[in-house]
Symmetry: D3
Subunit: 227 residues, 6 copies
Amino acid sequence: MYELGVVYRNITRADRAAADGLAALGSATVHEAMGRVGLLKPCMRPIYTGAQVSGTAVTVLLHPGDNWMMHVVAEQIRDGDIVVAAVTAECTDGYFGDLLATSFQARGARALIIDAGVRDVKTLTEMNFPVWSKAISSKGTIKATLGSVNIPVVCAGMLVTPGDVIVADDDGVVCVPYARALATLDAARKRESLEGEKRAKLAAGVLGLDMYKMREPLSAAGLKYID
Amino acid sequence: MYELGVVYRNITRADRAAADGLAALGSATVHEAMGRVGLLKPCMRPIYTGAQVSGTAVTVLLHPGDNWMMHVVAEQIRDGDIVVAAVTAECTDGYFGDLLATSFQARGARALIIDAGVRDVKTLTEMNFPVWSKAISSKGTIKATLGSVNIPVVCAGMLVTPGDVIVADDDGVVCVPYARALATLDAARKRESLEGEKRAKLAAGVLGLDMYKMREPLSAAGLKYID
Amino acid sequence: MYELGVVYRNITRADRAAADGLAALGSATVHEAMGRVGLLKPCMRPIYTGAQVSGTAVTVLLHPGDNWMMHVVAEQIRDGDIVVAAVTAECTDGYFGDLLATSFQARGARALIIDAGVRDVKTLTEMNFPVWSKAISSKGTIKATLGSVNIPVVCAGMLVTPGDVIVADDDGVVCVPYARALATLDAARKRESLEGEKRAKLAAGVLGLDMYKMREPLSAAGLKYID
Amino acid sequence: MYELGVVYRNITRADRAAADGLAALGSATVHEAMGRVGLLKPCMRPIYTGAQVSGTAVTVLLHPGDNWMMHVVAEQIRDGDIVVAAVTAECTDGYFGDLLATSFQARGARALIIDAGVRDVKTLTEMNFPVWSKAISSKGTIKATLGSVNIPVVCAGMLVTPGDVIVADDDGVVCVPYARALATLDAARKRESLEGEKRAKLAAGVLGLDMYKMREPLSAAGLKYID
Amino acid sequence: MYELGVVYRNITRADRAAADGLAALGSATVHEAMGRVGLLKPCMRPIYTGAQVSGTAVTVLLHPGDNWMMHVVAEQIRDGDIVVAAVTAECTDGYFGDLLATSFQARGARALIIDAGVRDVKTLTEMNFPVWSKAISSKGTIKATLGSVNIPVVCAGMLVTPGDVIVADDDGVVCVPYARALATLDAARKRESLEGEKRAKLAAGVLGLDMYKMREPLSAAGLKYID
Amino acid sequence: MYELGVVYRNITRADRAAADGLAALGSATVHEAMGRVGLLKPCMRPIYTGAQVSGTAVTVLLHPGDNWMMHVVAEQIRDGDIVVAAVTAECTDGYFGDLLATSFQARGARALIIDAGVRDVKTLTEMNFPVWSKAISSKGTIKATLGSVNIPVVCAGMLVTPGDVIVADDDGVVCVPYARALATLDAARKRESLEGEKRAKLAAGVLGLDMYKMREPLSAAGLKYID
């Protein structure tokens, strides 16, 4: 359960090189490199296609229909951060638009991940400020109730601790705990380095059945071919 | 509950200048200008991005799986209208395609808002005829049952009266009652005129906390900073 | 109920000319030409817009979170096929990415229809390998359990028999039984040949009410106009 | 769109005998008697089974997470009323519990229909105060924002005007416009009077095919029997 | 894809003793005995708790909003059958009420499984006629379009062939192919005969960890205990 | 993100008297007493009505379709515990049935809260072993993958730490952090002690408008009465 009304100013951010480097690997490879955990629910979709980012999480907890804390979190953003916004109950309101995006971008934020809605998506797209959200909605919010900044939050079903690395692209959003960022970068790079050769073989018509030596285990499992 | 089998030919359309002028403000600003009411459910999404329109509503009530009344409403369209289609029960069928769009466009319609599905979306995109719907579906409909034209309808949870102004863009769809169109245009313009200066300040790194003088009320509400 | 652990190598594919020719008609026209049946649920959406394909179905039955059989089905693909993947229970995992797409494409597949999720959608888009799915997700899968290949499967609510023709575009996905492929092609072409003339009339302002002679049946059904 | 901040004290209630008499017919028969319109969405479910009520609607418009107006509507309740509560946006919070139910019951209300959530359902059941809602939730609400009382509202997709008759039972909730209450009662009674004889025949093994003389139209429509 | 407008009068029903005997085992045990396949989607819920039935499937394919074929299927019911109703598209209308239930019961049907809605649920409960459906709705249907009887249908995601055995209880609905009915009955009985002894041990405080000898494989998989 | 493959044997349980005493207050009152936080999503429903429990949380993290860890958590249960089960991805499978319930009950567990499905609900009801879940499903699970026991988990959107107090009844499920259990008990009792008097007044016809002195603030907010 959440602590309300607090702003933690000092958080331990993940290793910068790892936080920056994971973007290039993409969410699917990073998710695999971590052992298939860390993924936010697939209802989290980008407002435009093609963005691929990573950065360190600063978190904000909001109340339904109230975006007051978005202004509070803006002050805590540093270069290379990604804001992760959770809400205390289901809500699809548009908590975030072009003005807040201007402020976030000026503070150095690379993206917003929000378990709710956003608006002004045409302008956000022109600004190249990517957002992953579960809704797009013109519905505005009020500024009346305190939440918190930089506490651990549950965003789209995943626990995100301030300082964790967020990796987001067209496939979805993954959270890498800050203590595992470097190891995950290594594992993900290793994974990817093997893909070029595999891709060439598959493009040449080699079957995964042979390349991965699956025929024997499939047969052992009882697979039968019928002509 | 709905009156069935009637077509109202004479409706009071909102002030033309207001109906035309609201498009430039966009659905989010208009929604704010009305006091955060009037929004259709956010499941209403454009079939392609970038369209931003406003116009006067002509309404049509349909039955599930039956688009007969779409041909009846076509005759009632005038230049600058937007057709708002409601259905008497949940349905995602494709009620509308390129032929009807050709007819609607020829009659002067600017868009269709439909609480159901559409099809031929590739052609509609090429025609620049925007549609906001809750589904895209190849599923066709029959022509067997009477609905009504230009009665008040509930579309995506919102009551729309014929002659109201519809404002639609990538953020969603807002309905402005015809009697409030001019006042809403004024309020929305006033709202927007303030945004340029705010944007410049925020882009320069000024925080919303300071610009909106939020530090004191946040502190009064009990917000605590922890180092 | 499904037969598990079998791969049927010899299937009766629909007439090739029909399987190839139906793409040009599009899913909506084909669906109408069959009497408004054969449509997969509208939750099946393309990962990018603009693709319009048809081809013969090879089917694969998968288990939740397990894509082992995707490698088995790859071997059964022939030029002009479309892979139709069903899952034994609800699942949105990303069963398919750029490596499998490379393999499928090398084997001659034109598309994938999957009642689950896919990933690497940016790369799939660059490869021009279209996928219709109900989700996009970074979540990977394991390779542990046998399903089947080329048995009749239920995909997005529709029964698909191996060799049937699949027609897919921005409007959705339709399945044409292999025995009805040629007749459906004829009916769909006939249907489309009439559309040009209709479109011209409607563009000129002729109403569907008059073109389709609907005024009398509407009146007979009791429609009343009120001034 | 809604008028906010108003309470209409004088409403035209439907004929009392009709409002009282419709309960015995049940929502399914009443819905048929009106020509299959007037039904609220089937997500509206009773909090306990077996209740079957009808009464005149007093309406209340609420904001998400705010039940202030529930106290305002309480004063407008008269004997034989049913409170119909709509919300300006999607919300499943528990707006109503045993204290409000005590007050509503003391004022003469027969039930609550709410397009949101309720709580204290065990106590409400013991009190025999039925509620039809789309959710059950412990989540409380605040008292901060004005809505309205006795304006026309959209509840679960249906327009309800103050004074209309509400009929609710285990099958769902139907709204009968106050001007049609008497005619609907007549039609529903006529409909039901025929059911006893039909039931006896069907129980004796007579087929609907014969009783309703369907064999010929089915054959004319092309139905084929295959042995 | 479905064959429309046909009624198959002669179907091969599963072994009667197996069809009757499976009820006592329950859907969960039967589902396990088949290797965890055959389950209809869990959105299929009983209209009242406590019913536990099995029987041979007679199938009916319906169109959205049209229950004409329910009267056609009634004639094909024999003692010990369960009617399985599929719809060609998503629909929650109330296709079935107390009159049809009277007819079905008189013909010997034990239950209805319907991938849509039902009504008159209070009366159905009093009649002890169980229904598993995905919705309850007062909304009635018309009688206008031909479907089919006793063709294979997809019901709640599962392919059901006429003559298969249906097992339904509070946990859900399972379909057992008629050719596997006897073998499944044997396997399910064997499974259940072992449960009594297990239950006694567990009730005495023996852990599944020890009874199933899981400690070693858990440790081999890497499980660590931390004090 | 979750630590996998670990079992914490020593957890700090909340004060026993508080953990036991909160049941009597019920989830709605406890939720209010904590300032309207701590509620699991309202999709969590009891398998039978009338149960009202509280206890200390032991947590278990499961994988989709795999209930191996349910046997591991059984050993960690002590008298007065409630098992809280989370899953690493969306799943509605039936992870828990009468055998596990027998074991849990023998170990002293009072209930199960599971963000997935259960089965054997008829037997669980007879055993008086309550479960709150988001689904009921016959679908069984395998035993193949390690999760964890007694780590903090996200269950139905709420973070639950081992040792927290769970309060569950017909209205839903609330989590009270172990450090706040006593204070919450006090606050909840105080809250409830005031309700008796209020209820008597409301039952006598006094309006909440007067009892809570709302008329003035409503008028100040602009509420208008129209005759």
